[in-house]
Every structure is written in structure tokens, then in C-alpha cells.
């Protein structure tokens, strides 16, 4: 589904990612884990080219999503097909709950009628396990929701675009354990319809939800493998040190 080939990223003169090669199959959760500053978020933002909104960034290499080379396609089209959820829940606070989810389909003209838009918003909110909590208050501003609800709203916003891939950048690092648990359950549910690439610095979370795990350290991809292999018999010494808490 996602194929990353010889990816190098520089920020000004610093090399952030060093020759990354990675394959992600369809409908799985792949977790990129690693300590802070290892380049996890940069790798994630390279996949949907969001990295290009930062001045001073240079990218080399190829990334294919569903067979399309993202660096040869139009930025808008690439981002439309790849949803993203961020570390800090970032709904537009003074927009209504409904409008936040409707944003993508509406502005990208993916729907033909108001009723189609309502259906898609309902579908996305249901998939994000949020519909029952907000169905009577769709007109309220998104800022009134709790942190966990806001993050699920952001997931619904990403889903409403009907993406094939969802990128999640430490989506639970600002949430309490109960909200974290709900999001993790949701991720496992979501992989039925999309491929999820999750970034976390928490090995326990990686172990709980992922099918595949990639370990990134100082901009280099140290090891990739199935979740059970990485957590039971890591091949690389650094991976073992990281998952046992000796580096990080």
C-alpha cells in the first residue's frame, strides 16, 4: 500500500532522515516508534507531503501510495487521499462539530448534495465512535468537546475524506488513559477500512495495537518486523534496548 524508497530528508543542513526504505501492506496498523527527535513525525509528514509547508526542508527519494508516486502527483490530491490526525487535537475551535467534519468533503467538492454531505458526516462520526455523544449538538462549536472527543472528531474529519491511508502522529500523547483506550480500540476497528500508520514514542502502545513495527533511531530505520517478532525477539541490540527502556 505504501512503499518508501531511499527517502532522505534534510532540514537546512541537518539530515533528519537517512535512507529510509519501508513497505506497508494494506489494512494493517504499522507503528513507527522511536525516541524523541528520531524523525518519526518527519517520516509521517513526508508521506502526505505536509512537510513541504515548512520552509527549509528538502526531500529526496520516492514514496508510493497505492501505486502513485506522491512527489510526482499534485500536493492537494496526495493529501486528499491520506488522512492525518495530530498530536494535539486540532479541530477548528470556533467552527461547529458538523462543519469540522464536513470541511474536507465540502471544500474538495467530494459531495453533490447537502443530504450526501450529512450522510458522510454521520458515517464518519459513527466510525469514529463519536456520533452517539454529539448527534444532538452538531451545531455547537468544537471547542466545547473534551480532549478525547476532539481527537475523535479529528479522526472523523480525516475519515470523511474517505482516505485509503490514515497517518496518526502520537494521537494519544495528550489524552488521559480512558480516552487513550478508546482511540486505540478505534484504530484497531479502523484498519478494516484504511491502512493506519501510527507514530508513538510509547513501546507499550505499539505492542498493544500494531501489526507491524518500525523502529527509528536518529533518523535511521533500525528494524522493521511484525509486532510479535519485534517485541519477543528483536534482531537489533538498539531495538531491544529501546523496548526494554534502556534508551529513549
Amino acid at each position: 500500500m505504501i512503499m518508501i524508497k531511499d527517502l532522505n530528508v534534510w532540514y537546512r543542513d541537518n539530515k533528519i532522515l537517512d535512507n529510509i526504505n519501508l513497505d506497508v501492506p494494506r489494512n494493517v496498523i504499522l507503528t513507527i516508534m522511536g525516541p524523541s527527535g528520531s524523525g518519526k513525525s518527519t517520516l509521517l509528514r513526508a508521506i502526505n507531503r505536509l512537510i513541504e509547508i515548512y520552509p527549509g526542508v528538502r526531500v529526496e527519494g520516492e514514496i508510493y501510495v497505492d501505486g502513485v508516486n506522491v512527489f510526482k502527483a499534485r500536493t492537494e490530491d496526495v493529501r486528499r487521499n491520506i488522512g492525518m490526525v495530530f498530536q494535539i487535537p486540532n479541530p477548528i475551535p470556533n467552527m461547529s462539530i458538523f462543519d469540522n467534519v464536513a470541511l474536507g468533503p465540502k471544500l474538495n467538492k467530494l459531495v453533490k448534495s447537502e443530504s450526501e454531505l450529512r450522510d458522510i458526516v454521520k458515517w464518519a462520526l459513527e466510525k469514529a465512535y463519536l456520533w452517539d455523544e454529539v448527534k444532538d449538538r452538531l451545531k455547537e462549536p468544537a471547542a466545547k468537546l473534551s480532549g478525547g472527543q476532539q481527537q475523535r472528531l479529528c479522526i472523523a474529519r480525516a475519515l470523511a475524506m474517505r482516505p485509503k491511508v490514515i497517518l496518526m502522529d502520537e494521537p494519544t500523547s495528550n489524552l488521559d488513559p480512558v480516552a487513550t483506550n478508546r482511540i486505540e480500540e478505534l484504530m484497531v476497528e479502523l484498519k478494516k477500512i484504511v491502512t493506519v500508520v501510527l507514530v508513538t514514542h510509547n513501546p507499550a502502545q505499539a505492542a498493544r495495537v500494531s501489526d507491524y513495527v518500525a523502529f527509528l533511531y536518529k533518523g535511521r530505520l533500525i528494524e522493521v518486523g511484525s509486532s510479535s517478532q519485534i517485541f519477543t525477539s528483536p534482531k537489533n541490540e538498539l531495538t531491544e534496548k529501546y523496548i526494554t527502556g534502556r534508551i529513549g
Partner: protein, 298 residues
């Protein structure tokens, strides 16, 4: 035992408090003079003061300020209709292309304009229209004379007064949008134009509406840029289909012209006009403050 340190502190605090209150004395004096004289003038001819034209000097009757209120409303509305969209567009450009040379050059020009005395802006508009007239006559060989003293030139002058203020305010609101909101917009596959118009402007709408209201109250109180442009008129002109090309009065010009006249009736009318202007500006300002507070609460 006398604690010298606490006495010193109390004396200093008292001194500073008194000094801080001093500037309010002339402001309060001005405010109450305007309110007292204004209410007295209006009460002499109520409610006619709000819609009648000014009286004949020596008649002993206090007339009204109707044409001036209408004039201010028209001038400010046209200036707002031109100035607000223009400054939003320029501010979006400046916030998106921070490093471009056009942004830097434009920024210097517009912020310099901010510091300009407004009477110079009035003269500039006057000169601009003269130059335009010459250009039309010489290069297009059409004998048309754009009127220098007109509603349009007055509105243009007010637009130039409001533009730098609005530009700076809106640019700052847009630049202070957190990166997380920018990422949210771009991750949905929006173009820069859509992201700005549908998301960033909505996100910053509280502070933008506040700056627009403050800009309106600012130009509402301007006299200097209108002296050489709107010029002033004491009568209703809007029944004339070509009124946009004719001089028009405004509350500020009326205060200036009538207030300097030797006639008691006119001076009283000027006080009334000052009171109405004060009310209009204050209420806009209070609404703006209210919206701004709401924007921070969200």
C-alpha cells in the same frame, strides 16, 4: 517603631497613583462638556435634531444634523466596502509569502502610510485625482473632469486612512494562527486560497471583526482627510442621482465648520454633532471590546 521602608513604599504608590490619574482629568472634562452641551442642544430640537438641516443663523432656532449623519454613514460605508476586502487580501498575501520581496516592500510602504498625518492623505487623494484628470485629458483625449470634491474622493481618502491599520491587524491575526491549525487545513488537501478563506479567516474571525470595528470608529472621527476631498455640504444631496460626484458633509466637518462660526445656533449644533459622533464611536468601540473578549474565551 516607625517602619521607614513601608512609609516610603506607601508614599511612592500614592504619588504614582495620583500621577496616573492626572491624564484622566482633561479627558473626563472633555467628555462631560461634550455630553452636557450635546444633550442640551439636542433637547432644544428633539427629535428634529437628528434629521433636520442646520438652521439659518440669527433665527434663534437650533436646526439639525441630518445631512451630516447621512454623509458620515455614506463616506464610512464606501470606505469600509473598499478598505476591508482590500486589506484582507493584502494581509493574506503578506502572511502567506513572508519572505517574498513584494511583501517586504509592501509592508514598508503600508506601515509608513500608517504614520502619515491624515491631512497629508487628504492632500494626496486630492493630488491623485488631479493627476488622473491630467492623464485622462492628455493621453485619452477625453474631456472628463473627475470631481476633486466628492463623495468618492472622500471615501478614497478614508480608505487610505483605514487600510494600514487594518492590514497590520489582520496580518498579525493571520500570522498568529497556530501551526497545528495550518497543518489541519493542509492535511485536508486544501489549496492555499481555500485554506485561507475557509479556515484561517474563520479561525481568526473574532480578532478580525474587532479590528474592522475599531478601524470604522477610527475613520468615523476623521476630519483632516475630508477637508480637501469630501469638502462638506450642509444639505441633503442623496436625492440627486449624481451625488457620488458631489461634495458631501460629515459630522466631523460639521463640528469643525459650525464650531468655528460666530453664530450661537451653529455652535450649539456643533456640540450636538460632537455628542452624536462620540456616541457612535464609543458604541462601536464597546461592541469591538465585547467581541474581542468573546474571541479570547473561545
Amino acid at each position: 517603631m516607625i517602619d521607614l521602608r513601608s512609609i516610603k513604599s506607601k508614599v511612592m504608590v500614592a504619588t504614582i497613583s495620583i500621577l496616573a490619574m492626572l491624564p484622566f482629568i482633561p479627558i473626563a472634562h472633555l467628555f462631560f462638556t461634550v455630553v452636557a452641551n450635546g444633550i442640551y442642544a439636542i433637547s432644544q430640537n428633539f427629535p428634529g435634531f437628528f434629521y433636520m438641516e442646520r438652521s439659518i443663523p440669527g433665527s434663534g432656532v437650533i436646526g439639525g444634523v441630518g445631512p451630516y449623519i447621512v454623509g458620515t454613514a455614506i463616506l464610512v460605508s464606501i470606505a469600509t466596502l473598499i478598505g476591508v476586502p482590500l486589506s484582507i487580501l493584502i494581509a493574506i498575501y503578506a502572511s502567506e509569502f513572508i519572505q517574498s520581496r513584494l511583501t517586504n516592500a509592501g509592508d514598508v510602504i503600508i506601515t509608513t502610510l500608517f504614520e502619515f498625518p491624515t491631512i497629508i492623505i487628504g492632500l494626496m487623494t486630492f493630488a491623485l485625482i488631479s493627476v488622473l484628470n491630467d492623464a485622462i485629458r492628455i493621453y485619452l483625449l477625453i474631456d472628463v473632469e473627475l470631481p476633486k470634491f466628492s463623495v468618492l474622493s472622500g471615501s478614497i481618502a478614508l480608505t487610505i486612512v483605514m487600510l494600514p491599520f487594518l492590514y497590520v491587524q489582520i496580518k498579525e491575526s493571520l500570522r498568529s494562527i497556530p501551526i497545528s491549525i495550518r497543518e489541519a487545513a493542509y492535511s485536508l488537501g486544501l489549496s492555499r486560497i481555500k485554506a485561507n478563506f475557509y479556515i484561517f479567516l474563520v479561525y481568526a474571525r473574532g480578532s478580525i471583526v474587532t479590528s474592522i470595528l475599531i478601524a470604522i470608529s477610527k475613520i468615523m472621527g476623521e476630519t483632516a482627510p475630508l477637508l480637501f476631498t469630501a469638502f462638506g455640504s450642509d444639505f441633503y444631496t442623496i436625492s440627486d442621482p449624481g451625488f457620488l460626484f458631489k461634495p458631501i458633509g460629515s459630522l466631523t466637518l460639521a463640528i469643525y465648520n459650525l464650531g468655528l462660526s460666530p453664530y450661537e445656533e451653529w455652535i450649539a449644533t456643533a456640540w450636538g454633532a460632537a455628542f452624536i459622533l462620540l456616541l457612535m464611536v464609543l458604541s462601536l468601540y464597546i461592541i469591538a471590546r465585547y467581541i474581542a473578549r468573546g474571541a479570547y474565551l473561545r
